[in-house]
Amino acid sequence: MIATNQHIDENLIPILEKVSDPEIPVLSIMDMGVVRSAILVNGIVEVSITPTYSGCPAMDVIGDDIAKALKENGYESKVKLILVPAWTTDWITERGREALRKYGIAPPLNPDADKDALLGDKRIVKCTNCNSTNTKLVSQFGSTACKALFKCEDCLEPFDYFKCLK
């Protein structure tokens, strides 16, 4: 799903697509939905990014990586962190969700299903290894604040689930 209020200059998209999330290298920051705008103003690209979680340590690195990628393509830039509108997992693109799955992170479910999985002990999160839904919540917080830790009871694989944030 692409948010309506996203403004990115067409010719900057290929450059920004090559910048990846430092914690999930297979995932482009564009598919993550953290780039809210990138516009060329008086020869300088003004980029606005929004954090997934307030304390996400990746944001500083993402800002630096964006500036570096633009520089390599001949653009000076200013990267700004904005909080409005707040990031939501709805902004992860379909391609992004597929990249997460391949990387071993189950993509976010819709809010109701997310609640059932995290609070109701319902077995609905698909194992990223064998696709079974016979999976169990191990911890509400996984390797980072945005993920919960699950375990597959069929193939025994432990995996992260990207929590729904709306």
């Binding site: 979680y53 307030s54 304390g55 909080l83 911890s139 509400q140 917080f141 390797s143």
Partner: protein, 251 residues
């Protein structure tokens, strides 16, 4: 609106996040199990992120050479405005969770109001934080139930933690002069209005966890005015060490 009022009010909001986060962060590598260790430090990280947003805003307002780091690390004890509750030490896991839970319930109620602040930055920070704090209160609330309604020993420890921390809960609802003025302008939250809902929510969960609500009517306060318990100095010594030993150091 007076600039110093807003600055002080932001510190009042942020210092609670900073100090609660610092206490949880102390568990990094020391949690009772890997999962809980990671959960506590993730909550800590969320709180530090929120603190940064507040302090960046405060630094803008203060001007001169103020930065988020100077505000976080270079104040003296009497200049911190956090409530006494959040500075209480991690005596044991029950204590840590009880302290965090008693703060989380308040924190979420506060943010749900703050998101409608006339101040757009505070409103934005609140909207962002609500999503995170909803997970915090869920996590700590679950653990209060699990330990309260668990074994004889876990029940006793959780009851002791609640009994020990209860005296610090009332301060959450003290309205400072700054907040009072700013609340009239639609910028700050009048926290006294959250009190009834807070105690209802906490009472319901503690009762579900088979715990007894303390009856003591004696409450301690002082943190919002900068008068802290004896634990605060040690916490700051640890937290400020690097900036004091190596001024202006950066990672």
């Amino acid at each position: 609106m007076k600039k110093t009022n807003l600055y002080n009010y932001i510190l009042e909001l942020a210092d609670n996040c900073l100090i609660a986060g610092q206490r949880l962060g102390e568990l990094c590598g020391h949690g009772p199990s890997l999962e809980t260790d990671i959960a506590c430090t993730n909550i800590s990280l969320d709180l530090f992120g929120q603190t940064r947003s507040y302090f960046q805003y405060a630094a803008d307002i203060k001007g001169e050479d103020a930065t988020e780091d100077s505000i976080a690390f270079l104040r003296f004890e009497r200049e911190y405005k956090n409530v006494l509750l959040v500075e209480q030490p991690n005596r044991d896991f029950a204590y840590t969770l009880a302290r965090q839970y008693l703060f989380d319930v308040y924190h979420l109620l506060l943010l749900e109001k703050l998101q409608f602040s006339q101040d757009l930055t505070l409103s934005a920070i609140a909207k962002k934080s609500i999503k995170e704090v909803s997970y915090h209160v869920r996590f700590t609330g679950d653990w209060i139930k699990r330990l309260g309604d668990g074994t004889e020993e876990s029940h006793a420890k959780m009851q002791e933690a609640i009994d020990g921390l209860w005296t610090y809960t009332n301060e959450l609802f003290e309205v400072t002069e700054e907040a009072k003025t700013l609340a009239e302008e639609g910028i700050a939250v009048d926290v006294s209005t959250l009190k009834k809902t807070y105690y209802e929510k906490v009472t319901a969960l503690l009762t579900e966890a088979t715990l007894t609500i303390p009856e003591s009517k004696y409450f301690q306060k002082g943190g919002k005015a900068g008068i802290h318990t004896e634990h605060m100095g040690y916490l700051l010594a640890d937290m400020q060490y690097m900036q004091r030993a190596y001024p202006n150091m950066k990672w």
